[in-house]
């Protein structure tokens, strides 16, 4: 089966108008037979079929203005069945102001009769994607990196990106827009989706307080337990999942004097500088620190949509619970993650090794 496309008859031609079809669906054609009459801004000419066979399908009616390169007919062996029509072919021609194609204005309607333009197929105009687009997003590497860091989906901007590629500044603007929209403002603080499963562990904490005191002494400033737990969690996550890229941990303490930190790769920082790895990126997992409070557990809190580790208790024992979505983190990996964290709490020197 062969596709017939709107040919480029002039050097700077972007669309052509089908004046008339010279063959009907089901009719046999030879490659040299005139198949249709096409009008460009300069001329009207007959265009040969280009392939031997039977006209299986005509996708653009007479009078339609069609972008160069778009499939307008199929030619194949008699009796073969054309594939289902792609949705885009039924949509108005590529981002051009004029209505076109199957909306079928009368053949004589050029120059344009602006009156009843059909509404775009989709409100964001994405259906207008030019043939080149096919859903592919053109964006600079830096723009893609920024979008990934900020959790911005560039796919809805595919069509527009073929007019002008998406650059870093565009992503910044999208991020600002997203932040301004109240519906999506809850990035930090409250859970976005319920986690469906949870695991619990307890770890003797005798060495823990001592370790924090030692670390604070070495760092010559207080080292927060929450930041160290974040580093443990990142290291254990890496071991459990084989993740080699960046791991962002959002840590929050609910005690009176507690704060919140979002840390990038805290496991790769030295003990003294864990708290210096702050970032704005979305969290891979989050830590909720209940030590220093009377709380023994919490549900439904934690930043982002990744696993949430809740740490409670004090003195002799820390209670750890991990809630996670089993469809994104396998229970076996979750178990390895929580075990890894518990063993690090029990014997913090493991982390340093």
């Amino acid at each position: 089966m062969r596709e017939v496309i709107m040919p480029a008859l002039g050097m700077a031609q972007s669309t052509g108008v089908i004046v008339s079809w010279l063959k009907k669906v089901g009719e046999a054609v030879a490659a040299d037979d005139p198949l249709m009459e096409v009008e460009t801004d300069k001329t009207t000419m007959e265009v040969p079929a280009g392939h031997d066979g039977v006209v299986l399908e005509i996708r653009a009616e007479a009078g339609a203005e069609v972008p160069v390169g778009e499939v307008i007919a199929l030619i194949g062996a008699a009796g073969s069945v054309p594939p289902p029509k792609p949705a885009a072919a039924a949509a108005p021609a590529a981002a051009k102001p004029e209505p076109a194609a199957v909306a079928a204005p009368p053949p004589a309607a050029r120059p344009p009769a602006p009156a009843p333009a059909p509404p775009p197929a989709r409100p964001d105009g994405a259906a207008a994607a030019a043939p080149a687009a096919a859903g592919k997003v053109l964006a600079s590497p830096k723009a893609r990196l920024l979008a990934a860091e900020r959790g911005i989906d560039l796919a809805p901007h595919a069509a527009r990106s073929h007019e002008r590629p998406i650059l870093a500044a565009d992503v910044e603007a999208m991020a600002a827009e997203a932040a301004a929209a109240p519906a999506t403002a809850a990035v930090q603080g409250l859970a976005a989706t319920p986690r469906l499963a949870s695991l619990r562990a307890a770890a003797p904490a005798a060495g823990w307080a001592e370790f924090l005191a030692f670390a604070s002494g070495e760092a010559k400033r207080p080292v927060e337990g929450m930041a160290v737990i974040a580093a443990f969690a990142a290291a254990a996550f890496r071991a459990a999942t084989g993740e080699t890229g960046r791991i962002v941990v959002a840590a929050e303490s609910l005690s009176d004097d507690g704060g919140a930190l979002v840390l990038a790769d805290p496991d790769r920082a030295g003990l003294a500088s864990i708290a210096d790895t702050t970032t704005d990126a979305p969290a891979t997992l989050s830590v909720l620190d209940l030590t220093g409070t009377a709380l023994s557990g919490a549900d439904g809190l934690g930043a982002g949509t990744g696993p949430v580790l809740v740490v409670a208790g004090s003195g002799e024992r820390l209670d750890l619970s991990l809630s996670f979505d089993p469809s994104s983190l396998a229970p076996r990996a979750a178990a390895a993650l929580l075990t890894g964290i518990a063993r690090r709490v029990e014997n913090p020197l493991r982390h340093l090794l």
Partner: protein, 331 residues
């Protein structure tokens, strides 16, 4: 104390200082003694050091380049004066097959501590055989170090380092800059190889430029600054060894880069540097990496045509501006 001297004087001082310091240093080439070279760079050296250490040679580049390789292998530190960079083609075997490979092929038993001083640069109306910038040829050969001073200060510091290096070093001076002055300290100083110099900081685009093109890039940055575009200008100083880190760190900040070099644009220095940026800072790029070299034509003798073949501040600014404004789109 710092005074202003010409690039020519800076080179002369560097050689004189090193010859006073080290009796194994000597100089050879065509018209180097009484004439002091056609560019008058070496004037006066023969008076101080005599014709035994400032050797006028016959017009035979392969001959005296070969003598230098042998002298270097046997304990001397020759400085070869190759009158025009275009004559590199004549000494390719001595330089690339002998000097560059002797240390390796002798299992480290022999060293070739020689310096080949030569020049590059068009717009001197010297026509196609005396105007080329051929440094890319020697950068391609492992075993050679390559330095490209961009001012009198750079020329003196880099040449002194070159003379003290135990490897063969090719140093290219821009023949149009011999009479240009720059502040140069009276005290001794060396400029280490492989350490780029950031002349100007900027947040919008990184301009990496070599030799004479450093000034072109700096003037382009002035033009852009007037439009609110901040260009960072980096001079790698040596292409071998090459300070990749300084350049990558800059591009990671600016997200855009343009490489400017006076060698022919195709298959040369700009391509090498641009490809390293694209490979190693890819995810930080917000625009395609741009290059500007000399046009891929023999350098014309006609002044009007010759001027068209080399990058200018205006041409660099125009491309950099388009990059910063996101106007480069070839998808």
């Amino acid at each position: 104390m710092t005074r202003e001297i010409t690039l020519s004087q800076a080179v002369n001082e560097a050689i004189a200082e090193e010859m006073r310091r080290d009796p194994t240093v000597f100089l050879l080439g065509e018209d180097v003694a009484e004439a002091g070279t056609p560019f008058k760079v070496l004037l006066g050296l023969v008076d101080e050091f005599g014709p035994d250490r400032i050797l006028d040679t016959p017009i035979s580049e392969p001959g005296f380049a070969g003598i230098a390789v042998g002298a270097a292998m046997t304990g001397m530190r020759p400085v070869v004066d190759l009158m025009f960079g275009d004559f590199l083609f004549l000494v390719m075997d001595q330089l690339c097959n002998q000097a560059a490979k002797t240390h390796y092929m002798s299992g480290g038993k022999l060293k070739v501590p020689m310096v080949l001083r030569t020049n590059l640069g068009a717009t001197r109306r010297s026509a196609a055989q005396h105007s080329q910038s051929l440094h890319a040829l020697v950068c391609h050969i492992p075993g050679l170090k390559v330095a490209l001073p961009s001012s009198a200060y750079e020329a003196k510091g880099l040449l002194k380092t070159a003379i003290r290096d135990d490897n063969p070093v090719v140093i290219f001076e821009d023949k149009l800059m011999y009479q240009e002055k720059a502040p140069v300290p009276e005290e001794e100083y060396l400029i280490p190889f492989g350490v780029a110099h950031t002349l100007r900081k900027g947040r919008d685009i990184t301009l990496v430029a070599t030799s004479s093109m450093v000034q072109v890039a700096a003037r382009a940055a002035d033009i852009l600054a007037g439009e609110g575009i901040e260009a960072e200008v980096i001079d790698p100083r040596t292409l071998v060894p090459f300070d990749e880190e300084t350049i990558l760190a800059s591009v990671r900040r600016t997200g855009r880069a343009m490489v400017i070099d006076e060698g022919h644009q195709s298959f040369g220095v700009t391509a090498e540097i641009a490809s390293r940026i694209a490979e190693k800072a890819f995810y930080h790029l917000d625009a395609p990496v741009l290059r500007m070299g000399a046009m891929d034509v023999p350098v014309p003798f006609s002044p009007k045509l010759e001027d068209l073949t080399v990058p200018t501040p205006e041409k660099v600014a125009e491309r950099a501006r388009a990059s910063v404004k996101g106007e480069l789109f070839h998808a």
